[in-house]
Point group: none
Chain length 260, copies 2
DNA sequence: GTCGGGTTAG
DNA sequence: CTAACCCGAC
């Protein structure tokens, strides 16, 4: 089973690139982030034409996640609230969470808040959001032992996941508090699929549009698949496909694909 | 003497097309409308490189007119106020008027308000703007008997200046009040140069970007040259050059050229 | 800096 | 449909 994650930075702007990629790279489930479109306007038919079902949770202009799946998914829910009925509504106002089950494996597709700048209000929101995520996953684990969380985490856990030019310590997406918050989540029993196969640094999934950072390969690895133990043992590969980032008018992120 | 008028719908976006056209079609004066740029950012040097002087009156994002001339012009003024010092400032807040004299001929380059929709506030502004224009031209005629007014009038005076698909009566740019307001202006002693040479309909200078209207030739003739009697008698040709409208990323208007 | 969406205008 | 601006995001 292949599960891909791709922050497309607007599905409407990137539609042709995503459809082309999916034709060349058939996967069981494609997890999209930053679709930036309300559900009514999500372009379902291009995916239908390729034989894929769409499960979407979008909003106007910002955020938005989708699961594009060859098989139908079961137990699809959006946001934290269906699993954590008692949380405050602010955690689901932004559309960042969608999940569904395929062949006994729960896929959790996340768009973790970026956090803007250290010590900002958005940064605090990001850290607290990750504590909500942990409770959400704890609940899901009670229902299902096999879980693949993937998406844009907006966190690079290790310095080797960041190009050399930036000192991680006080940088958003790499601050100690962010890394600790993510480690706290993973402590539930998740392991990084990419690191099962590749230990060296210099592999990135996101390059800022600014400062020709892709040309200089000054990127970050912030798009991840985290697997529960049995899935992790079964994982056969985890690959970053850099090619879509080379196209004209690319997303700033590129797809990452795990095979289990 | 050749005088061309062209609503370029942003001189910065259309610069290459305008320069190319001018190379192929040298004219004495090119009257531009909808330059959509403040004077500081107007691209003067590409025209200088071709041997043309620029006289400009622009604003941010909207409107804006310019005279591009091989010879230097004299008596250049912008807006109504230099000629009508007592009018209210609202008539010159939008940059729609520039004039200058070449070889004893006054060129008046206009971008008449579009009017948006019949009975709207903008429609009323358009009608009143045309009464101000009449007083402006009346004053200019006292100084100079030879005048060529040209530009985007946003009015089609006759039904044959409009493609068949639209009933003129209640359409903006063709309503009785707009036509009457323009006829009131022309009554000062101006005649339509184009109609000296061509009497049949189906000749247009503007095609809406929407609804593939150029492909279907569903256009309007709203860009005009109006001449005082002696100039009208001298006029040798008046031609609409459709070719720029066929390019990719064209203006919605195409140039009209009078030779006197 | 660079992008995407939304808005306003035509 | 097209262009410019504004805004928010990164």
């Amino acid at each position: 089973m292949k599960i891909a994650t791709w922050n497309v930075n607007s599905i409407r702007t990137r539609l042709e690139q995503v459809v082309d990629w999916l034709k060349q790279n058939p996967v069981d489930v494609l997890c999209l982030q930053e679709t930036k479109v309300i559900d009514h306007d999500f372009p379902r038919s291009p995916f239908e034409n390729l034989g894929y079902h769409s499960y979407i949770s979008g909003q106007k202009a910002y955020n938005g996640v989708a699961l594009i799946s060859q098989q139908q998914l079961t137990d699809v829910t959006t946001g934290f609230t269906p699993i954590l009925p008692d949380i405050e509504p602010i955690w689901d106002e932004q559309k960042r969470v969608i999940t569904g089950v395929i062949d006994g494996v729960r896929i959790v597709n996340l768009y973790v808040p970026n956090g803007s700048a250290i010590a900002s209000e958005k940064y605090e929101y990001k850290l607290r959001w990750l504590t909500v995520l942990k409770e959400y996953l704890r609940s899901l684990l009670l229902l299902q032992p096999s879980i693949c969380i993937c998406g844009d985490f907006n966190i690079a856990l290790e310095d080797k996941d960041i190009h050399e030019k930036v000192k991680a310590e006080n940088h958003i997406m790499a601050s100690p508090a962010e890394r600790q918050a993510l480690r706290d989540v993973l402590e539930l029993g998740f392991a990084d699929a990419f690191r099962k196969f590749t230990t060296e640094g210099g592999h990135f999934s996101w390059w800022d549009y600014r400062a020709a950072s892709f040309r200089r390969n000054q990127g970050w690895r912030i798009d991840h698949h985290y697997l529960t133990p049995v899935l992790y043992e079964q994982a056969k590969s985890c690959i970053i496909d850099v090619s879509p980032r080379k196209l004209t008018q690319p997303s700033d992120h590129t797809p990452v694909i795990v095979e289990i």
